[in-house]
Amino acid sequence: MNEHVIHRVRDLPSAHLLGAGTAMCAGCGGLGALHQVYDVLGEKTVFVNAAGCMTLLANYPFTPFKGSWLYTAMASAPAGAQGVRDALDVLLAQGRLPPAEDLAPVVLTGDGSAYGMGLSATSAAIERGLDFLYLCYDNEGYGNTGQQSSGATPHAARTATSAGGRGHPGFKKDLFAIWAAHAPAYVATVIGAEPLDLARKVETAIGLKGPRLILALAPCPTGWDFEPAALVDVGRLAVNTGIFPLKEYRDGRITHTRIPRPRLPVEAYLSTQGRFAHLFSPRRDDAAIAAIQAQVDRYWQGVA
């Protein structure tokens, strides 16, 4: 049995659902992922969006979506999705909404919500078995307010709140593992730079019921300090250096959908971004680079 319609790149949609004309930065990796995800999800979606860059998508009376969009506080998007799901279920039960017109609630938040402020509401929604899709575009910081550090900021990255010579002292939380520990229906990591992998995972997610997370690494030219044109290069390097593993969780099992061979050294990725520039100049910080490499090596040793 093969549940996929998308087998090859030729099967990717070439007409795009998401409208142009949004206020996202030129070369925004989050928008790039969203437009690809939306093409697969289709029009029958209600986006429930917590405060962040993507809030600027639907700026009344403008919207890039073909359907509804709901704005919530940063901590509450999964609760908003619960409300939407409940309302739809009531309408369906009362026969006021034909089943063919049912909609899918899709939570859309940045990492600030997904890894931090919204984690409690997320955990509770998974616990209740809410039938929803969560799309997190992870730009590894509070992008909309000027890239302060968040629970998703990687070690050593310079942010507005970690501007010293060593960058962010903390380590990126493992949101994939946090979700997987709840044993939800589906968890997957994706990136816009790998459209086929992304489309197949979104397809899989649509076919399942219950809580599902699509976690998209979202290279952010503005917050990470790289040229917008390098968006896809930066994304591919995140995958090929093993820093961002492409994987999925389903039925209690984790599968890596791409094992980078050969795995490039992490500095190939780090050196593309101004937020890591202090690791290379004025003096190369070999110890810090080696520590990041060691962490990535340790991860992949565990994958085998």
Binding site: S14, T22, A23, L56, F62, T63, P195, A229
Partner: protein, 307 residues
């Protein structure tokens, strides 16, 4: 009070310009306000920042409606309504435009009685290169035109504002600021401080009473979809991607899928088409096309571009 507005595109350093000028005014003993306007502070998008400076406490707030000086870093913004470059520009306003057209050309073009000056436009970036910041240049030019800021105060302000970026950046920007300051030496003091605005003398607002409407009328639903298409983000573009259809092998998905802005559609015959009304000029498509069939040309002067 001096009221100064800097207009540019996101990434050109207008906020930096306002910070440097504010610092320099402060060093000369002025009370100062400097701030960027809150909005779509996106690279390439029209943005502005403003500075107020006075010997006395400043009680005025908000966007500057009647500027004494307007500095325009990118002349393609002058005709963009959303940029509001000419808002409140009157006979006593000095308008400094970074442009390769001269002041006489702009005076004739704008048909305004304001005083127009020009500085040479910054060069367009090479494909894949960062757009050069001109914040220090604009601050240096403004410092000269107000005539109350010394060269030393300007130099210290650049160093103070950009210290975090390291010595080479400070050196480059200091040179930029001082060159602009010196280039406008003949116009020292051309800009005069505007008078106080008496809040009490303001014409009262014509209030309109709005009845508490039914929600359906007060917050109408939008039933149209993808209304974002009404926003012309093509105006953000500094560089324009151009497809060479002779070299495109019609892979039909790479540029179209990877364009983050959904600005490339694929025709029935598999040929990609760029939507220039919305393409923001990120040049991702140029970087990803495997047959190198898309190149970047400067927007300035490109066919059909503004002006």
């Amino acid at each position: 009070m001096y009221r100064i507005r800097f207009h540019g595109r996101g990434g050109q350093g207008m906020k930096t310009a306002s910070c440097i000028l504010g610092d320099a005014f402060f060093a000369e003993g002025f009370e100062v306000q400097d701030a960027p306007r809150y909005g779509a502070e996106r690279r390439g998008a029209p943005i502005f920042a403003y500075v107020r400076a006075d010997r006395a406490a400043i009680n005025e707030r908000g966007i500057i409606a009647r500027p004494d000086l307007v500095v325009v870093a990118d002349d393609t913004l002058v005709t963009v309504p959303a940029a509001a470059v000419l808002q409140g520009v009157g006979a006593r306003t000095v308008l400094l435009i970074c442009s390769n057209d001269d002041a006489a050309t702009w005076t004739a073009r704008l048909k305004r009685d304001c005083r127009v000056l020009t500085l040479p436009a910054p060069a367009a970036p090479e494909a894949g290169q960062a757009q050069a910041g001109v914040g220090a240049l604009c601050a240096g030019a403004a410092a000269a035109l107000v005539g109350v800021i010394g060269r030393a105060a300007l130099e210290r302000a650049v160093a103070a504002e950009l210290a975090a970026h390291g010595a080479p950046v400070v050196a480059r920007n200091t040179a930029q600021a001082l060159a602009a300051y010196d280039a406008l030496a003949a116009h020292q003091g051309l800009v005069s401080a505007g008078g106080a605005v008496d809040a009490g003398a303001r014409a009262p607002v014509d209030w309109i009473d709005l009845a508490a409407e039914d929600a359906a009328a007060a917050a109408p639903d939008i039933h149209a979809t993808a209304t974002s298409l009404k926003a012309a983000t093509g105006l953000w573009r500094v560089m324009r991607p151009v497809i060479d259809h002779a070299h495109c092998h019609k892979c039909s998905w790479i540029c179209s899928t990877l364009c983050p802005d959904s600005a490339i559609a694929v025709d029935a015959d598999h040929a990609p088409r760029i939507d220039y009304d919305h393409c923001k000029g990120c040049l991702v498509c140029v970087a990803v096309c495997p047959s190198h069939a898309i190149r970047a040309i400067p927007e300035r002067g490109a066919a059909g571009a503004v002006p």
